[in-house]
């Protein structure tokens, strides 16, 4: 596998666990509305791919740590998404709940090549 594709989670590479890399081209930035999200289905799992106002891309499993709310349907703001069901605020980068709430959603490494978005279907740690 091409070493250029460093995961945001560097330990994956250091361990040389190439089996943890499964990069897929999912589309371009323009497919996702700014401050919005789209879903990618991988078998049973739904992954929400978010685009922030400043065109950063993040991917989280589409399941709120609270009661599995579909995060892809929430409002995106300040590097976070507010869950549509009960308003927990989840960090896009780490998947952790902000403020007083506790919990974490799996996050997936994302890479940009030009405007193309590559998603690693294996979640980060």
């Amino acid at each position: 596998m091409n070493a250029r594709f460093t995961s945001p989670n560097a330990s994956l590479l250091e361990g040389g666990q190439n089996t943890d890399l499964d990069w897929r081209l999912i589309g371009t930035i323009d497919d996702i509305p700014a401050q919005g999200a789209r879903c990618v289905k991988n078998g049973e799992t739904t992954i929400a791919v978010f685009r922030t106002a400043d065109d950063r891309i993040f991917a989280l499993e589409d399941k709120c740590p609270h009661r599995n709310g579909p995060l892809s349907q929430g409002i995106v703001h300040d590097g976070c998404v507010t869950c549509p069901l009960h308003n927990w605020v989840i960090s896009l980068e780490t998947g952790t709940a902000q403020g007083a709430d506790e919990g974490r959603t799996a996050s997936f490494p994302v890479r940009l090549s030009g405007r193309d978005i590559y998603l690693n279907l294996k979640p980060g740690a």
């Binding site: 919005g36 991988n42 703001h77």
Partner: protein, 822 residues
């Protein structure tokens, strides 16, 4: 004691305050006021926000008609006094009204100074002193073009910022080398100039006006150096002169102003003078704080024997231009005995300078970061020796005594009880705290009413709220919050500023109103999106990403991520055809549950998101549109069977309900709106717990409003009874529009009506046919953009991305492992 006659000449801020003090202490006088201006007493300081459009005249009235009536005051408006006869103790006005006095107060304020250059009398040359000037400026601004403001002092710069906000090009001409040289040192003046230039205001210092050009109307200004600046408006704001003519003619002692003792009595013991026209111990004043002190002293003497005496105090200067922070107090010149401590931060554009004399603070000039202004002023007043904290003095109060206070309230809690919070009204922290405790005050409005703190220029509002938060604890902290963590402005301020500053996008609001977060949050963005949609119908483009999911995909999200679909059933009526179409959709898409809602229609529950467009297409095909069961907008109009079937029915309640629903569907509102029309007072459609309800009676239609039966059960309030369906429809539209324009996001009609007053709603919507009509027409106008069925829009492809996954992997035949090319 027989009642005495008190006559006052001039109805400005100083005598207005004097009367308040006087009425508290005594009711011995029959009061007569003559005023050259034809209006009640208003807050002259706040003319700049009126000019910029941030406030209306009504917002700045200090005493309304009712106040004069309740104190039995005779107010002669538009009656300039032309003579005082001290022998017969009478005054006479231009209009020939003569009044006798036992005591007379001269409060004629000052006149703006007009430089007598050629052309100064041309139409289009105005001063900046009263509401007439503001109105003249606003009229000129409506025509566009360039305004030249002569004078770069406090008034001139406020005028310049106001005219810029009104959309004019603006040039400020200032004779001196730096702006506001009487209040700011050159360094701060320079920062201020840069800030104004950054906002598109042209500033020319060292500019000497030679003449004003134009034939029948101002066309430009020529400077001594020959430069010509085109202009359609010239504002002269070069200074004021105490208005002493009357006093002079009456033979009173006059210097720069009308000379008084520290008891505010002129050289005639029956005549007092207060305000900008008065001269005490050789000084005249142009800011309200000392004038209010004069008012208090004069009131005390009028009320009876008193030893109250006026004493000079330094008044800090602030500029009321939104976003410009400057503060100056006391001395700031250079002198051998003066020492400076200066702190500059070029990156943040801040400048702080504290001036010491014999280790005591004698002045401070702050630009950009003014949080410590009050503290320096306190040190100045107390004349404490600051030697011990010289090293850290300039860093501000939070840095004293070691701890660096990150808590914004810490600075306020450190203030002593006699630290002055409201400069205009001379109100100290202790007075506010005591008022809150003694009188059980909980809102800013109450604190203003009882203490006057922050009731004049308003720049200390944040501090007053801070004192309230400290005194009341958490109970207040919540109320003082802005819309959300991204701004300190409340919903009302934001709504007003969106209109005043013509902000037409979410990013413009965030930029202009100085949002603290980069892109807002899930609380403020939906609110802003609604405000913009409501204020600029047809112009603002709805921001889908700022909408809650239900409104974005036009269906209600359920606990498992599926959606529910509720088509409209007008007035609760349906047909076999509609029911058949619904049944077909349920079968075709395997919809798990079908339920009759509490809103007289049918809910299809558990629809998969990707099926939504196809479900809608089928419902559309049968003539059904979105029921907006998800929206902050019109939900349902419940009806009963009414006169069509019911033996008690008095009117066609079903038909009227359908008409109302067809008229009002699609409108976005601050929170949901539910209506009901019931055929008789038995009220089977539950009209008395709806946002707007109609109860049919023999003689017509009784309209009620402000009900709810959700988290809070609230019966409606009666609006009135009308004779025709058309009137019902007009009133429902007008009331909804008033609510749309004034409501805070998520505030239902009953909460809005509580806030603005049920009487107000009734007088605007029911009693005043003209204003009812105007609101109705604005509602109709905005409906033409709102009545688009969101379902058919999406069926035809709008927001396709919402309903389709971006990519699908993991299917049995998925073998693609993608790698980007080198």
């Amino acid at each position: 004691m027989s009642r005495q006659r008190l006559v006052i000449i001039g109805n400005g801020m100083a005598p207005g305050r004097m009367l308040e003090h006087l009425f508290e202490a005594s009711d011995a006088y029959d009061v007569t006021i003559f005023n050259a201006e034809s209006r009640v007493n208003y807050d002259r300081i706040m003319l700049s926000p009126v000019l910029s459009g941030e406030k209306s005249f009504d917002d700045i009235v200090i005493h309304d008609d009712a106040w004069y009536a309740s104190h039995g005051i005779t107010l002669h408006r538009g009656q300039k006094v032309v003579s005082i006869d001290r022998d017969s103790q009478t005054v006479t006005s231009e209009g020939g009204i003569t009044a006798g006095y036992d005591k007379l107060v001269i409060a004629t304020g000052s006149n703006p100074f007009i430089i007598p250059v050629p052309g100064h009398k041309l139409p289009g040359v105005v001063a900046y002193r009263d509401l007439d000037d503001v109105q003249a400026m606003k009229r000129a601004a409506a025509l566009g073009g360039r305004a030249v403001v002569i004078g770069g002092g406090l008034l001139g710069l406020e005028a310049a910022a106001g005219l810029k906000a009104q959309g004019m090009d603006v040039t400020v001409l200032h004779l001196m080398p730096t702006l506001m040289e009487r209040q700011l040192d050159p360094a701060a003046g320079y920062l201020l100039q840069k800030e104004l230039e950054g906002r598109g205001i042209e500033v020319r210092c060292g500019a000497n006006t030679k003449q004003i050009l134009g034939e029948a109307q101002v066309e430009g200004v020529e400077l001594e150096d020959g430069t010509v600046i085109d202009a359609s408006l010239v504002v002269m704001a070069v200074g004021i002169r105490p208005n002493v003519q009357l006093a002079q003619e009456a033979g009173l002692e006059v210097g720069r102003g009308i000379v008084t003792g520290t008891d505010m009595k002129t050289s005639d013991a029956n005549i007092y003078s207060v305000g900008e026209c008065a001269e005490v111990e050789g000084r005249v004043y142009g800011l309200v704080a000392p004038l209010y002190t004069m008012a208090k002293v004069a009131a005390a003497h009028l009320a009876g024997a008193s030893d109250a005496a006026f004493a000079h105090a330094e008044t800090p200067t602030k500029l009321k231009v939104t976003g410009v922070n400057l503060y100056s107090v006391g001395e700031f010149g250079d002198g051998p005995e003066l020492e400076d401590v200066v702190l500059r931060d070029a990156k943040r554009g801040t400048y702080k300078r504290v001036i010491l004399k014999d280790n005591k603070v004698v002045g401070a000039v702050l630009y950009g970061d003014v949080a410590d202004g009050m503290w320096y002023n306190e040190l100045l007043k107390s004349a404490d020796c600051v030697e011990a904290m010289r090293e850290t003095l300039i860093f501000g109060q939070a840095h004293q005594g070691g701890g660096v206070a990150a808590d914004p309230l810490a600075a306020i809690s450190n203030l002593s009880d006699d630290a002055e919070i409201c400069g205009c009204n001379g109100i100290c922290k202790g007075q506010i705290v005591n008022a809150i405790k003694d009188k059980g005050l909980t809102s800013l409005a109450e604190v203003r009413a009882h203490t006057k703190a922050s009731a004049s220029c308003g720049t200390c509002t944040g501090l007053v709220e801070g004192v309230m938060a400290l005194t009341l604890g958490d109970t207040f902290a919540k109320k003082a919050e802005g819309m959300c963590g991204c701004t300190d402005l409340g919903h009302g301020d934001v709504r007003r500023l969106i209109v005043a500053k013509e902000l037409k996008s979410i990013s413009a609001v965030m930029q202009e109103l100085e949002w603290k977060s980069s892109g807002g949050c899930a609380k403020c963005r939906p609110a802003l999106n609604y405000y913009l949609l409501s204020d600029w119908p047809g112009e603002y483009v709805d921001d889908q990403q700022s909408r809650f999911i239900n409104e974005r995909v036009h269906a209600n999200i359920q606990k498992d991520g599926t959606y529910s679909v509720v088509p409209r059933m007008w007035g609760g009526m349906t047909t076999a055809g509609e029911l058949r179409a619904i049944a077909n959709v349920v079968d075709k898409f395997n919809i798990p549950d079908v339920k009759v809602t509490g809103g007289q229609r049918i809910d299809l529950l558990g629809v998969k998101k990707e099926d939504l467009p196809a479900v809608w297409a089928d419902l559309n095909a049968a003539g059904m549109i979105s029921g907006h069961a998800y929206s902050k907008g019109l939900r349902t109009v419940k009806t009963c069977v009414g006169s069509t079937w019911c033996r008690f029915g008095t009117q066609d309640s079903t038909g009227l309900g359908i008409k109302l629903e067809k008229f009002m569907w699609g409108s976005w509102t601050p929170a949901k709106v539910k209506l009901a029309v019931t055929g008789c007072p038995r009220n089977c459609a539950e009209a008395t717990c709806k946002d707007i309800g109609v109860i049919c009676v023999d003689s017509g239609y009784q309209i009620v409003y402000g009900g709810a039966a959700g988290l809070h059960i609230q019966g409606t309030t009666e609006l009135g009874t009308v004779k025709t369906e058309d009137e019902v429809i007009e009133i429902a539209g007008a009331m909804t529009q008033m609510y749309r324009e004034q409501g805070f996001y998520l505030e239902r009609i009953y909460k809005w009506a509580d806030r603005v007053g049920y009487d107000t709603v009734k007088s605007v919507i029911f009693d005043d046919l003209e204003s009812r009509r105007a609101y109705y027409e604005r509602f109709v106008h905005s409906q033409q953009f709102a009545q688009v069925d969101p379902w058919s829009e999406r069926v035809s492809g709008v927001d396709k991305h919402e309903f389709n996954p971006m990519a699908v992997f993991g299917l049995p035949n998925d073998t693609t492992v993608q790698e980007p090319a080198e």
